[in-house]
Point group: C3
Chain length 349, copies 3
């Protein structure tokens, strides 16, 4: 940091498609696909930490009395991803032209023992479900064959000891914080009474920002024991796909990896149903969430229809459906709404 003319790069923030990564201690400003390639190269050279355990070992987590072990097999995998698979903006009824696919990173649900895919690799990754008292047993495999970097799963909301934090911490990294390509690690996460809610999980490895922005995120739903699920439940990640990350020409404002109505989730419900939409911010911007024709109580009991949500924060819109029709839902940052962050909510009478 010598005192000299101010670096122009210092003026750029993520809202402008640029961001600054710290990768293994090296700072890289990412404004272009070439910069992202430099960040990837740096991440590939991060050495496996010694993984000393100065604070542990910790007792092995177990389910609480009455709780269950809930096992998941999840692999991280690179895929070509199309954020506008219909090729259309169904709100404005027009085509979206030009090259659209890019190389994403996703979490993919697998059957027991990673035998075969349970579903296509997708953005977001699979929703993990637990009830209070359960132990989430998440077998994670880094199956990426393209980027060649250590990856992880870092959860919000659940309880875990440092072994299962899933974070790269330099010399203090524990095993689950550095899972190299071809390796596996099993995370043990406890659903405690204060875990009730909906939470994100995401990469927290040595190149966490870039790889999370590429698609390495998903959700955890924790309910009270025996609680009934809503009739309609949908997790909606509000994020963006920046040119520096995708190599595409402009930033797409995306929901679950997709831009524009008809590509973003079309949520369907019927009058009388108990509906829950869980909205999670997953980029560096602040968003807010509006559903036309609907209001609900926030956690404080106030009626709202456009609450704000920050990065990795969750807000839930939950209501008994009473208003049939085809409705728009969207982020109410106008520029996000018009750049793809909108979708359909269709209610049958």
């Amino acid at each position: 940091m010598p005192r000299r003319v101010i670096d122009r790069r210092a003026f750029l923030g993520t809202s402008a498609g640029a961001f600054i990564c710290t990768i293994g201690g090296r700072r890289i400003t990412v404004r272009s696909p070439e910069d992202a390639a430099r960040a990837d190269a740096a991440a590939r050279t991060v050495a496996r930490p010694a993984q000393a355990e100065p604070d542990g070992p910790f007792p092995a987590p177990e389910p609480a009395p009455g709780g269950q072990r809930r096992e998941y097999w999840i692999q991280a995998r690179s895929v070509r991803w199309d954020p506008v698979p219909t090729g259309r903006d169904d709100w404005h009824d027009v085509p979206v032209r030009g090259k659209r696919t890019f190389r994403a990173l996703t979490y993919q649900a697998m059957t027991r023992g990673f035998a075969r895919p349970l579903a296509p690799a997708s953005m977001p990754g699979p929703v993990l479900h637990a009830e209070v008292g359960d132990l989430l047993v998440v077998h994670f495999r880094n199956a990426d064959e393209h980027f060649g970097q250590a990856l992880t799963m870092h959860p919000h909301g659940v309880r875990y000891n440092p072994d299962y934090d899933g974070s790269y911490l330099g010399v203090r990294t524990r095993p689950g914080g550095f899972v190299e390509p071809g390796e596996e690690f099993t995370y043990l996460w406890e659903a405690t009474p204060d875990s009730v809610g909906v939470w994100p999980y995401h990469d927290h490895g040595p190149n966490h920002m870039l790889n999370t922005f590429r698609g390495l995120f998903g959700a955890i739903v924790v309910r009270e024991r025996g609680a009934k699920a809503p009739d309609v439940e949908q997790v909606l990640f509000l994020h963006s796909l920046m040119p520096s990350v995708t190599g595409l020409r402009r930033t797409l404002q995306t929901i679950n990896g997709r831009a524009y109505a008809g590509n973003t989730p079309t949520v369907r419900a019927r009058v009388g149903q108990d509906v829950a939409l869980h909205v999670i911010g997953m980029d560096d911007a602040f968003h807010d969430f509006h559903i036309h024709g609907h209001r609900w109580r926030d956690a404080s009991g106030a009626f709202v229809d456009t609450p704000s949500v920050g990065p990795n924060e969750t807000i839930t819109a939950r209501f008994v459906e009473d208003n049939p029709g085809r409705w728009l839902y969207h982020c109410h940052v106008f520029s996000h709404q018009d750049a793809g962050m909108a979708g359909w909510y269709v209610v049958d009478a």
Copy 2:
């Protein structure tokens, strides 16, 4: 979106005075008045949708038992608008020099049958009042003679069926979502128990972002049946007037279309009065709201004096006045505060 050098425009966000509109499916980056003129030209060519009714028709809304019909006549109208009518910043006691007026779009309250104006065209438009059970009957006329585009009124907080959503939805647009110059449309909006609160309404026609940023917004106040109004009640929209929208040289951070104390609303109260200030975000930025010398409970019951508010979100500062003097209120984003987003709150003993 061919893969090539990153478009520099992709780096610009609304915080920088630029925004990306989607108008009838065409994307236009607005960084200058010339870009805005292009967006306007595009909006003028958006064809009237066929307005099929695949999901309806819906039953005509009526007031609930005991409720009333509350009729309003409101026209959209272009006016020359001066954001600094005193020509001064009364906080710093200095003149604000240079050209200031620009062509705004506003909602104007009219007498029954649009016979004559009830008040000058202003920013924000008139406050609409209802109690739970009432039906708001809002006769809207697009009386703009300058921009030549379809306009609408889209409400928050109230209940409406898709006919009265007031949103341009491409081929799925319903009648209230595309009101061309010279046309009228009557919106029917229900004040239901979960409508209690203060909410924005704004344009949601084919050029909604630009036209909302020009001034097409107002507020709806819904109270419990028979609830007493606060002694002092003021709606404060926090927004900005960008050079691309106004043709002025710099961004003004505005409250109700005005910048700098003495131009923004000077709110007056007396000790002992029940005071309610309703603060609504109406641009793409996040704001927060501070009143010197005062604290209040937020919806959760916590004491606050600087709560955050996002686009089209509302926070209310409500308290019994006990502190006489001349106080500053302002957005606590320092840069907004210093660029005009501040005003006087004067309390008499």
Copy 3:
């Protein structure tokens, strides 16, 4: 504001390291240390206001029955400040190279009568403590010998009459709103029942934005009478040190004036302790706050682990510690986290 080509400076926001000050009515866009020097020069020329008292005088505040006078002596002082005193990023275990110190402004706690320092000048300034009913008697001295400008202390959360607002208000400035170098002023601030909480104080003199960004901020903690303090209590200011303010080459995302784990506060607790972390935004950005391995109830009672916090807003993470280990805490805006806004939370079993 003549109508002409849009000023490029209008495109820059504080997220990009630029901000617009209004100093004595003069607007200065600050993008570089040279611009900051111009702002400082302007601030030095702001004349002492006449300090008429059209609305007062006000009765002298006293403690409520049972309350106490709590006296503090605090001076504003310029210091060379090193945001990375260890020279290392302890999270990534790497050195942080280059010139780092700059001329900051801080509030420093002094003994009675300003006899001698109670502690080194630091960022943030001292925590002021009060219980409901107490009167904070804050003797403030502008001891800066470098910048030559009037400074103040403006508090949040507490009650005060306009004499003790600590704000420059042009011709309406009262004595505590303009304390020139070498001068003293005693603020009288009341801890009322609605003052319970944790609040910031900061400069609100004629150059408030620049001087607050330089480090003129601190916290006030108000408790119910006789309430027990948490076992572990830490105030964490989330802010940034911009090149225009520091002359350094890039923006540091800082906590309490420090960047990178090992420089930011390392918070320590033991299992079973009552822990309270009070997080306050102190720049123009919105932040959110995550602690690995922990959740808590927000003011509404909902479980959270990453709540948002705006400028001069406070959120509190309070919980009974039950999870030993070394944990990362950080702002979850990824770009802030990677540019220094992270620290250690170490829990012993």
